[in-house]
């Protein structure tokens, strides 16, 4: 993407004002999207983004400048702007030698989406539309989208690192609206992996569409969600976002370092039920949050955050690891070359346990079974979080009975972790996610086996 000589000269220019560290991050991203709505493929779109972000760190100060001009002049101008914002004590000429770091790709990509005819995408969306509508006359609206992207990045820094990655993502999402006497209800589900068009060799488009249609139809008959505090059983794969919110964000070293996390100073302590082991793993093949290198050139890693209930470590990016004099964990990520990297999760999941999933439900007299959680939000300083239940059922006398309408769950991360009293062996990864922090979105994955929280507050739905 960039000539090595140009990179070296740019790093030298970036260090000229005495910075301790300089970095060149180059990105070339192409994304395409085909969208069906209201019975027709309404729009195909494509986007191209390429540019370079240059970071200079001097003491506690970071200077950053980015540009879409990838010529040597463009890079030098950006390097000078970043250097001007982060002046150090020294300065002068410094030569940087680069050593290429190769990190294994988490998985191969068989068919690059850019090689697929647009007509093929159109036909696939039409099949999704037909299948969803055929499920019932009550399905009044269907929208479906195929999105794919290829993102090539290059990272080089004054410590001599040079690394590249080529990240491909492909997804299908379907949304349905069902209408009945009780009003309208929606279904929504996305399936996607860091693979190419081979996604559609393994995803049955019609079956996916029918499933999303049934989600909306089921909710037409749903009762208002009960409100109050009760046991909640989370289904396999559908509730990983809870741990992303409830503890993942609080284990990001930048937030911990600023005292904005309830988990600050608690490494080595029992912070969760001994049934709980939580891992963040950027190496997990094909999962939405995986990559060969993070956006600072660090190879992806599998990091155990909580082991048998004991807090083992936080997640680290370059800046915070350097400050604490410790190793990075492969969690330095950014939305694009226009953004500074910070500590982010990759694929975050809770490991399987010993319980039987059916027995967990049978052993719950009265509560709620959440098959799918929607988005969530956490205040890391207090640990308070909420997330939406997009598909949930009542548990009465140890059996799943009626579907309930959408509502929010609310809880406190540290409290919920201690209130998990059963973890099943049926681990599954969930759907692709997009995690937002300080205005930057990055793709993430999550996963969870069936588990029970003895007490959570259900927000309820108005009757």
């Amino acid at each position: 993407m960039l000539d090595e000589g140009v990179i070296k000269r740019t790093l030298s220019a970036a260090l000229r004002t005495g910075g301790d560290f300089a970095e060149v991050f180059a990105e070339d991203k192409r994304a395409t999207s085909a969208r069906l709505d209201d019975g027709r493929v309404e729009e195909l779109s494509s986007g191209r983004d390429r540019g370079v972000g240059i970071r200079v760190v001097s003491g506690e100060t970071t200077g950053y400048a980015h540009t879409a001009d990838m010529s040597e002049d463009g890079l030098r101008t950006a390097a000078e702007a970043a250097a001007a914002a982060a002046r150090g004590g020294g300065g002068g000429e410094r030569i940087v030698d680069l050593t290429r770091v190769t990190a294994p790709r988490p998985n191969p990509v068989a068919i690059l989406p850019e090689t697929i005819e647009k007509a093929v995408k159109v036909a696939l969306l039409q099949r999704a539309n037909d299948a969803a509508r055929a499920e019932s006359a009550a399905i009044k609206q269907v929208s479906a989208r195929i999105g794919d992207s290829r993102r090539r990045i290059l990272v080089a820094n004054s410590e001599g690192l040079l690394a590249e990655d080529d990240q491909v993502r492909t997804l299908l999402s379907v949304q349905t609206v069902a209408a009945g006497d009780t009003g309208m209800q929606t279904g929504y589900e996305t399936v996607g992996f860091t693979i190419g068009w081979e996604l559609f060799d393994r995803v049955d488009v019609e079956e996916h569409a029918r499933k999303v249609a049934r989600q909306a139809l089921t909710k037409l008959d749903a009762r208002p969600a009960p409100s109050g505090t009760m046991p909640v059983v989370i289904g396999p794969g559908g509730g990983g976002v809870m741990f992303h919110e409830a503890c993942g964000h609080g284990l990001e070293a930048d937030l911990v370092g600023k005292g904005a996390s309830v988990f600050k100073g608690r490494v080595g302590e029992l912070v969760a039920s001994p049934l709980v082991t939580i891992v963040d793993d950027g190496t997990m093949p094909e999962e939405w949050g995986c990559f060969a290198i993070d956006d600072e050139g660090t190879p992806a890693q599998r990091n155990v955050l909580i082991q048998d209930g004991v807090l083992t470590d936080y997640m680290w990016d370059h800046l915070r690891a350097r400050k604490e004099g410790r190793a990075r964990s492969g969690n330095g990520r950014r939305q694009s070359y226009q953004h500074l990297p910070m500590v982010r999760m990759s694929n975050t999941y809770l490991l399987a346990g010993q319980h039987d999933a059916d027995e967990i439900v049978a052993d719950t007299d009265h509560g709620v079974y959440v098959k799918h959680l929607g988005g969530g939000q956490v205040n890391t300083a207090t640990g308070d979080f909420v997330f939406g239940m997009t598909e949930a059922y009542l548990i009465e006398g140890g059996k799943l009975t009626e579907p309930i309408r959408e509502g929010n769950l609310i809880g406190n991360g540290p409290e919920v972790l201690t209130k998990i009293d059963a973890v099943a062996s049926d681990f599954a990864m969930g759907n692709p996610g997009m995690c937002g922090k300080d205005g930057q979105g990055v793709p993430v994955g999550d996963g969870v086996p069936t588990l029970r929280v003895t007490e959570l507050t259900i927000g309820g739905t108005a009757a």
Partner: protein, 449 residues
Amino acid sequence: MSSRPELLDLATRIASSAAEGEQVEVCVARRSSTAVRAYDGAVESFTSADTFGIGVRVVSDHRVGFASAGTLDEGVVAEVLADARDNARFAEPDEHAGVAEPDGVAPVPVDLWRPALPAYGAADKIERAIALERAVRAADPRIAGVRVAAWGDSFGESAVATSTGIAQWSRATGCHLSVQALARDGAETQTGVGSTVGREPDELDFDEAVADAVDRATRLLGATKISTRRIALILEPRMAASVIGIVAGTLCGEPVTKGRSPFADREGDAIAAPVLTLVDDPTDHRSLGAESHDGEGLATRRNVLLDAGRLQGFLLDSTTGRRLGRASTGSAVRSARSMPGAGVQALALEPGDGSWDDLLARYDGALVVQAMTGLHSGVNPVSGDFSVGVEGMLVGGGEALQPVREVTVASTLQRLLLDVVAVGADLEWLPSGDGFPTVVVGEVSLSGN
């Protein structure tokens, strides 16, 4: 500014390359921005950038294709036009598809450019961010830290041109300060945010940003969960704008014309309490969302959504307008990188007559809502189901004193509108561009202990 801006020339040149039977719409933009984050009395980061964007929509035989890029390099621009054309070949025909046509509506001039902003120096921006952090830390002994204190500014220009004869150019400046404070009491930590936005540095209200962050963080110390009950909500202007903003989203072209709005067939009906009169008015200079033209290059106008509770109409762009057999309401919103679509630009709720103190005195036992969480996951704008986490203070004896956290409230958008019992006199123009007073919702179900 010179006679004819370069960006407008570029957009017009590409738009005029439309072939026979083809429509081309081009949006180009250029922006310079800086962002400063302060921490511990020093600069944590300083970011500067010039960004570019181009988006091309091609409509050919009623088929729509779109392509965009983050650079205005000649080669890439040509590639974007070619991509948009190729994309259009594969879309299915929609008789209503098309770019906007000039409609003769005269624009209300709005000047969004302040020369003081581009002239503002880096050292001053750094000083503002560091001073903001310092002021928040010094404001109250319970403030234990500041997660982020930030300055941000940008100035830029954009142009929209179409092969149907639209050629529109504008430029704007803007800046903001924002801060998140951490308040601590023993082992308990609470957070509060404050921000201020303006078109130039002098318009920023530094003291208000500080006071908001500090008050919001400290007043939540000692917050507890309360028991499940029916309760009235007093929504501060910011919160009222969030909730009613979601309702306004359901009154926009896409959901309305595609059966995804609970209010699609309710035009003319009383869907809200008579105290609610809601307009979207980008011609109102007081709003930071003010604009003379929309994202398709048509003049913006004042659109009434609710008149004393009655649904008056929807917000439409040219495509959704044609779908309803009506004209665009000048409500297309977009960036250069995205297709235009109908959206809210400058939402404003007509103020009522109660002062803040009157409202607290009148609604004993109500919950003053200071923050809501899960607005995206807990509100379904199609079904109207509404369930969100809230933080705030319980009202007793005319004062909002007892802090509350970790509870949720539930209703539906349809019910919420009808259950509004009062609107305050305290109209506030918010950083979002919305103008809202305090709104009181008579009854929702609160879920707690």
